[in-house]
């Protein structure tokens, strides 16, 4: 199985098969070499393999002369936030995010808290391939110090960017499913700050995945099944590092994760107009919301690194993706689930609307997502070949900057190899449900034929 993916901002693979201790050590050593020692923050999720990977990473960082601030189990967005405020040269987050059990990954973070920029990332890759690492002697050996006073300052700042008092007054009952991940131990302080009555499920930080790890309607079943019984105002489904969120309404509707960013954009843009950045396969809801607030919308490739980088270039006010993520540059440089939950609650508090009403206020699209398992090398070939056959498909306009996207008046389809998993992802959206389904099915058939 070719499961290892080494890139300029991260390393991911299947533990024991491709993601092995030597690979991890060399990658961390390359990063440490690129920042010439210096202070590095380290955080991890609760996956079974994360402590081992953390040890391997620490050995390399210390051995290259880095001063490691070990945040232990820490959601990636909190790590990103802290990196910018601890005068660090960078950070590493060990998290499998939305991937299934058995997988893990390292994400590299730059000194500003964003995913490592391409130039710095390329330097890491070159060092990784050359195997030429900084070696500290006893005299300039690094060290690792545990650090656990970082969540309070994070919440303090979060309470400055949303109106905490208005949320507190509402005494919302909020259901959260952190899937046994890095969010678990932070839910209570988060809820306490915002005066929430917290009902949590899968909240033991065990690393065991009790459901599908991607926040999406299917993974929201558990919350949806009882939200009405506990008079919940809203439910949030998280991934294991609190970077993605999907919503369950008070009526028990398992909303598509595409709604999360659209709801947030609708709220943020009304008080703070400016450029919005998203990716090429996010719902047209976001286009419509941006248009409604006369905000310019700029699109880029799929991935946090690309969205946040473009956001900086465009000096935008808000970024996010249809996978259920948001970044607010005035707060931090990372996709942040706590931020997303806080903004949605603020929107509910200020507008007086219930969760279901927030969703209904958005333009209605039907979005269909298919996934096809496929090895990475075969996936690129398949998508290329489908692109060739789709050049003139039913009068649509083709665009191929990141996978293949075809746009019509009523909707679009997008097919691309996943950057993070051995998958081809197909997304189809239309104002007409049947048409969205037909287009998705047709592409899926082509993919099946190619692989």
């Amino acid at each position: 199985m070719k499961t290892l993916r080494v890139s300029s901002f991260g390393l991911r693979g299947h533990v024991g098969t491709s993601l092995t201790v030597p690979v991890v050590q060399n990658y961390a050593a390359a990063f440490a070499t690129s920042i010439e020692g210096g202070r590095v923050l380290l955080g991890r999720d609760t996956r079974y393999s994360s402590p081992m990977i953390a040890s391997a990473v620490k050995s390399s960082l210390i051995g290259s002369g880095c001063e490691v601030l070990d945040l232990g189990v820490c959601p990636t967005p909190v790590l990103q936030f802290s990196t910018a405020r601890r005068d660090a040269a960078g950070a590493l987050s060990i998290t499998a995010g939305h991937m299934g059990m058995g997988w893990n990954a390292i994400t590299l973070i730059g000194r500003d808290g964003a995913c490592l920029d391409t130039n710095s990332g390329e330097a890491v890759l070159d060092l990784f391939h050359a195997g030429d690492f900084r070696k500290a002697t006893f005299a300039n050996q690094g060290d690792a110090v545990e650090c656990n006073d970082y969540f309070e300052p994070y919440l303090d700042r979060l309470c400055e960017v949303v109106c905490v008092e208005e949320i507190r007054r509402k005494k919302f009952t909020v259901l959260i499913d952190p899937i046994g991940g890095a969010g678990c131990v932070f839910l209570k302080p988060f809820a306490d700050r915002f005066g929430l009555k917290l009902v949590s499920v899968n909240a033991e930080p065990s690393g065991y995945l009790a459901r599908e790890p991607e926040p999406r309607p299917r993974s929201a079943q558990h919350l949806a099944s009882f939200i009405e019984h506990v008079d919940g105002d809203i439910g949030f489904v998280l991934n294991s590092d609190v970077a993605r969120v999907s919503i369950v309404t008070e009526e028990g509707e398992q909303a598509s994760e595409e709604y999360s960013f659209a709801v947030v954009a609708d709220h943020v843009l009304q008080r703070q107009p400016g450029v919005v950045v998203t990716n090429t396969c996010t719902s047209r809801m976001v286009d419509d919301v941006a248009a409604r607030h006369r905000a310019q919308l700029v699109k880029t490739r799929v991935g946090q690194a690309y969205v946040v980088a473009l956001l900086a270039d465009e000096q935008g006010v808000l970024g996010g993706e249809g996978s259920g993520s948001v970044v607010l540059p005035l707060f931090s440089q990372g996709f942040d689930g706590f931020l997303m939950m806080a903004i949605i609650l603020e929107s509910m508090a200020q507008s007086g609307r219930r969760a279901s009403e927030l969703l209904r206020a958005l333009p209605k699209y039907h979005i269909i997502k298919h996934r096809r398992p496929c090895d990475a090398h075969a996936a690129y070939h398949a998508v290329d070949s489908i692109g060739g056959r789709l050049s003139e498909w039913a009068g649509g306009t083709k665009e191929s900057s990141d996978g293949i996207r075809i746009d019509w008046e009523d909707g679009w389809v997008h097919v691309r190899p996943s950057q993070t998993e051995q998958l081809i992802r197909i997304i189809s959206e239309s104002t007409d449900r049947v048409r969205a389904e037909q287009r998705a099915d047709e592409i899926a058939k082509m993919v099946d034929h190619e692989i």
Binding site: M52, S55, K135, F138
Partner: protein
């Protein structure tokens, strides 16, 4: 400087920042995990500033092949050996370069019997390492790290049970300890004060591995301790090495009695107060040991240099005490390894039971002069030099078990390659200073001539 890596029966040693890297440490830990078989493995380290890095690498390496690391933290090497057997672990890894300077670190591998790997076992481990084909486990098979609670307790209780604790405590001895900025800086005061009832003066007691004296407890490195003994009027000075396996003694005047005599006094105490039986030591140990054993009617068996050779022979023949001339005392009833804590307890017991001073006890022993020298040598030069030496002494009584041992009757010469450093050790013993210098000088000229 690639030659600053030594892989041998004493484990894997190197200079951190050169040949000894996190990757190397993790890779050897993987090999050891595979060698030991899936299960618990004890991991402990000394105070060196590079210890934490190596520890993290070892943890990751062990976990990756399905082993469960049991962390002892910063503890003496004998404690790691003790814990490996006491906890029923599959093996242990001691992260310590023992008496090497601060820039070095090392991995020493412990078998499930709590003894360092024998040469044949070490060979198997190195074969696995060189194969570089490790059975990585998948995520669901990973075992979590466990920190051992109170890692010192079992080992030290065993030491205390072995000696007459009451007699020692009622002596209320005032002692000075030179901890060499090693594990003793953490563990020796609690041991001597709380368990042995001593009043304790310490020097070099910052546990940070930045050695304030050269780490070998040899006489020329122990002036500060001598000063402390005199200033505080202590009955004895204890000099430990950084990982707490070796011990040198200073008498009540602050004078080093020579680290080879630690073993002599310990042997005397065990044979006269605990049990009679054979004594095992290596070829380079002083003839004083034969004298002490003979007084109690016991035999001395000699082995090659290297702790494992001594320990193994002791277990094989049921020896009651043994050790090495470098201040390493082994009492198998406590644990079959060199242990400065056992040695300190025996010396205190000797003082308590005889009511005499170290200087007076030392004067009972026959006087030999021991001279230890070393010559730096590249590995490729060693065989030629040893051949030349052997030819020179071919008409004498030779023993080639370990390098070249020449027996001149009341004096001897031992030339061997170090197991731990790229040096040749020349050890000579004779009844007088002039005699010992003459033998050593002869040996040096032969070696130097063959190096030209």
């Amino acid at each position: 400087m690639r030659e600053a890596l030594k892989v041998g029966i004493s484990g894997v040693r190197g200079v951190v920042g050169q040949s000894f890297t996190p990757q190397l440490a993790a890779s050897f830990a993987q090999a050891f995990g595979m060698y030991a078989g899936r299960g618990p493995v004890v991991v402990g380290r000394d105070t060196r500033p590079t210890g934490r890095m190596v520890e993290e690498a070892v943890i990751a390496g062990l976990q990756s092949v399905g082993n469960k690391p049991l962390l002892a933290g910063v503890v003496p090497t004998p404690t790691i050996l003790y814990l490996t057997r006491a906890l029923g672990a599959n093996g242990g890894i001691a992260i310590t370069a023992s008496h090497n300077d601060v820039e070095w670190n090392a991995l020493k591998f412990v078998g499930r019997d709590g003894m360092f790997l024998r040469p044949s076992e070490a060979d198997e481990l190195f074969d696995i390492y060189h194969q570089q084909d490790f059975p990585y486990v998948e995520e669901f098979e990973l075992r979590r790290v466990v920190e051992i609670e109170q890692p010192m307790q079992g080992h030290l209780e065993r030491v205390v049970e072995y000696v007459s604790g009451d007699a020692i405590r009622s002596g209320k001895f005032r002692v000075a300890v030179d901890c060499c900025n090693g594990v003793g800086a953490i563990h020796s005061v609690p041991f001597l004060r709380d368990r042995m009832g001593c009043e304790v003066v310490t020097i070099h007691d910052r546990p940070d591995g930045r050695f304030e004296r050269p780490p070998e407890p040899i006489p020329q490195n122990l002036e500060a301790l001598g000063h402390a003994v005199r200033k505080h009027e202590c009955v004895v000075g204890f000099a430990q090495d950084p990982d707490g396996d070796r011990l040198a003694l200073l008498d009540e005047t602050g004078t080093p009695i020579g680290e080879d005599l630690t073993l002599a006094l310990a042997v005397r105490q065990v044979l006269s107060s605990h049990a009679r039986g054979p004594v095992v030591t290596n070829q380079s140990a002083s003839k004083v040991i034969d004298h002490v054993a003979a007084e109690e009617g016991c035999d001395v068996i000699r082995t090659k240099t290297g702790e494992i050779y001594v320990s193994e022979k002791m277990m094989e023949i049921g020896a009651v005490v043994g050790g090495e001339s470098n201040g390493g005392v082994i009492v198998p009833v406590v644990h079959p390894c060199r242990d400065s804590y056992t040695a300190m307890a025996l010396v205190l017991e000797l003082l308590a039971e005889t009511g005499r001073t170290i200087a007076s006890l030392r004067s009972d022993l026959p006087k030999y002069e021991l001279l230890k020298q070393k010559i730096p040598i590249r590995p490729s030069q060693a065989p030629g030099v040893l051949r030349a030496v052997r030819r020179h002494y071919e008409n004498e009584k030779l023993d080639l078990m370990d390098g070249i041992y020449v027996d001149f009757g009341d004096s001897w010469l031992h030339i061997r390659r170090s197991n731990t450093e790229p040096i040749l050790r020349i050890i000579t013993e004779a009844p007088s200073q002039s005699a010992v210098e003459k033998i050593a000088q002869d040996a040096r000229s032969i070696i130097e001539a063959s190096l030209e």
